[in-house]
């Protein structure tokens, strides 16, 4: 397959305006400005492109929700890529930042937007520096600012660096953070398209979605929609990590079998090992097992398999890895990152983490798994945002799919702990008074 976003991505100095323009950059912005915003929007609609950030909502529809009329509207590019396992936007921003800037300009034109922001996570310092330089270059060349390319279209673009909070990747948490507050999510509705940043209508899209927009315009929306499946159009950047030979970002056509990605592109687990479980869409997606490798990789097939495509981050674990260790990492992550606003999430993530720790210390019983599963049910759908759900879904699926292994872990840890307790009793001299051997159980 010929890549779209990753086409000659390592070309030297592609992050400069000079090289980007040499390969046809900003031509699509010129073209868009000769069209009406409605025509540009129609192209995006026709492409059927779905958001690449995790929720998979159609981008064209999102733009069409923005109210019309004379008001200040905002575009926010979500570059707070912090979903564990996801690192696709990082490579795009580092290597071809001007595609993102051009995409933002075109999308803003389609939505009648004059102010835009990129919210990049604070840890991405190199990428933020590159983007900042690229924005300055684009502004100097007249692709941003007042009356772009002698049209009536005006657009400002500000790069905003975050400071390390997963919740700021959630769209309303991001808006609060961008307004200079703690990144607490807001109650929806009203949705950001109606009332978002500074209470104005706001379009929020992921880096990859926006960076694809110039290519959609170049190919034509209808042509782009021919790639992929009917409901999951286009190409998608996939981040693969964990137990694979060639971890990294790959551009794939949506709908190809997962096996082709994991074994074909990434080389599969090291020799002599097999996939035990994998996350198909970041750590928030319910896990799949080695039996699920033939599921087509697109939004709907993943949903049918009870999981989700999410941000397109595949994490592979082979049979050497314990499900319990991964569960501990997942619960620790979400209990640390919960903003604490909604009780089911704040308490649910925290107590689930404690329950997993109890398994390690040998204090858990198999009944704890049932409690854990019921806690997950209580979290899902009961909070302002989906952070709690993002822990509940994978943990719930692990309990369901690996119950036997978890029960064995509980039993083994309990035996270890009891043995230790007996050892203590012996060491303390209490057992000396008993005649005969000490029963281990």
């Amino acid at each position: 397959m010929k890549p779209i976003l990753f086409d000659r991505i390592d070309e030297p100095a592609l992050n400069t305006l000079e090289v980007y323009e040499r390969r046809g950059g900003y031509e699509m912005l010129r073209k868009a400005l000769t069209m009406t915003p409605e025509d540009v929007l129609a192209q995006i609609m026709d492409s059927g492109i779905r958001g690449r950030g995790g929720a998979g909502f159609q981008m064209g529809r999102k733009i069409s929700f923005l109210p019309h009329g004379d008001m200040v509207k905002y575009l926010v590019c979500n570059a707070d890529e912090s979903e564990p396992g996801t690192f696709k936007d990082r490579e795009l921003m580092q290597k071809i930042p001007h595609a993102l800037i051009e995409g933002i300009a075109i999308a803003a034109y389609a939505g009648g937007i004059n102010k835009s922001f990129i919210y990049i996570r604070g840890e991405y310092q190199l990428q933020a520096d590159i983007l900042e330089a690229a924005i300055a270059e684009a502004a100097n060349a007249g692709f941003l600012g007042e009356r772009i390319l002698d049209s009536d279209f005006t657009l400002s673009l500000v790069l905003h660096r975050g400071a390390g909070a997963y919740i700021c990747g959630e769209e309303t948490g991001l808006l609060d953070s961008l307004e200079g507050k703690r990144g607490n999510p807001r109650l929806k509705p009203p949705f950001p398209a109606i009332e978002g940043l500074y209470a104005g209508p706001t379009l929020i899209n992921n880096v990859e979605t926006l960076a694809t927009v110039p290519y959609i315009l170049r190919m034509g929306g209808g042509e782009y929609a021919k790639i992929g499946t009917e409901t999951s159009t286009g190409t998608k950047l996939i981040s693969i990590s964990g137990d694979v030979k060639r971890p990294g970002n790959y551009e794939i056509e949506l709908g190809i079998p997962s096996r082709e990605i994991i074994y074909g592109l990434a080389g599969g687990p090291p020799e002599g090992h097999n996939v035990k479980f994998w996350f198909p869409g970041g750590s928030s997606s319910p896990v799949l097992t080695g039996d699920d490798l033939d599921i087509p990789y697109d939004f709907d097939s993943m949903a049918k398999a009870g999981t989700m495509l999410g941000s397109g981050a595949i994490i592979i674990a082979d049979e050497r890895r314990r499900i319990l260790d991964t569960m501990l990492k997942v619960t620790k992550f979400y209990s640390h990152e919960s903003c604490g606003k909604c009780v089911p999430c704040r308490e649910g993530t925290n107590w689930t983490h404690k329950m997993v720790q109890r398994i390690y210390s040998g204090e858990a019983t198999p009944m704890d798994l049932d409690i854990m599963a019921s806690v997950q049910e209580q979290i899902i759908g009961n909070c302002l945002c989906v952070l709690g759900d993002a822990m509940a879904m994978p943990v719930g699926s692990m309990v369901k799919k690996f119950r036997a292994e978890l029960e064995a872990e509980i039993e083994a840890a309990r035996e270890r702990a009891e043995g230790a307790a007996l050892g203590d009793v012996v060491a303390l001299g209490v057992a000396d008074e008993h005649a005969g051997p000490i029963p281990v159980h």
Partner: protein
């Protein structure tokens, strides 16, 4: 022999704690939950608060000296947004860069320039992981210990790193996913992403930081080429020979250009190939003219 003599002589903890110690990694997890005063898991809950005092007000510019450069930077950030409060995070970043951490003095200065209360800024600073509300060392090593990296041995690396940094001017923190699982296990050293790491790299990081040179130059993410076999095909469809990392002096570097002072690539033809570890961002342009 007395009851107490047979056990550890200084035995004081309860059974649960000692079980944790004895049974290492697994049993130890429960014991490693951080505890603050009186066994609380909430930091600072027993910090004394003077309830007789009124809340701090917006600092008076006449009595709050602010370094000129910091003031300019904060004012420049405020000018970028429709609402000045949006500049809170960029300004705290700037103040932290000046003071080393978000000290009460730093917060006071930001509050003074932004015309906000110190309490508001403290509430923001305490929400985000990258703001330090306690004094810290000069260098930061964030070791990612999330799922992908820990599968590949990040926890062991974290232990090695913490041991290597003992007694040095380095803060080692285990961090949530830093978004570079392709080079896992990885770490962010003063913001520079390096990986995949081996245990021996911990010592090298400490040495490089002490010597003031670029950290693990051969393992920096900025030079890593795309692994996608289709990504670097030329028009004929042939893929360039893929090496995992571009040679440090090869023009193929991903971070080329764009980072030094902007235009004028003509007068210094190699300018676009220069930046990177050999010419980091801080180096003023005149220092590069001799290269």
């Amino acid at each position: 022999m007395s009851f107490r003599d047979r056990s550890a002589p200084d035995h004081t903890g309860n059974l649960q704690e000692r079980r944790g110690e004895r049974y290492g990694a697994n049993g130890g997890l429960a014991a490693r939950v951080p505890r603050f005063g009186h066994g609380s898991r909430v930091p600072g809950w027993d910090d004394a608060v003077d309830l007789s005092k009124d809340p701090a007000v917006i600092p008076d510019p006449a009595t709050t000296p602010v370094p000129d450069e910091l003031r300019r930077e904060i004012e420049a950030s405020m000018a970028k947004y429709p609402d000045r409060r949006s500049a809170a995070i960029p300004s705290l970043h700037a103040a932290q860069a000046v003071h080393g951490w978000c000290s009460p003095e730093a917060i006071q200065q930001v509050a003074c320039v932004m015309r906000l209360t110190p309490a508001y800024l403290t509430s923001v600073a305490s929400f985000y992981d990258m703001f330090e509300l306690h004094p810290k060392h000069t260098h930061d090593v964030f070791v990612c210990t999330n799922i992908s990296c820990s599968i590949l041995g990040a926890d062991e690396f974290y232990d090695a790193m913490a041991a290597a940094a003992e007694g040095q001017d380095i803060d080692v923190r285990s961090f949530e996913c830093l978004g570079a699982c392709d080079i896992g296990p990885m770490a962010s050293v003063n913001g520079e992403y390096v990986g995949p790491l081996e245990l021996a790299d911990a010592e090298r990081i400490v040495e490089d930081l002490a010597a003031g040179r670029p950290v693990l130059e051969d393992k920096q993410l900025r030079y890593r080429r795309s692994v996608d076999p289709n990504a670097n095909m030329d028009s004929a469809g042939a893929s360039e020979p893929a090496s995992e990392f571009a040679e440090p002096d090869h023009p193929h570097r991903a971070d080329t250009a764009g980072l030094t002072e902007k235009p004028d690539p003509t007068s210094r033809p190699h300018a676009t190939d220069r930046p990177g570890p050999t010419a980091p961002l801080e180096i003023p342009p005149q220092d590069q003219s001799d290269t």
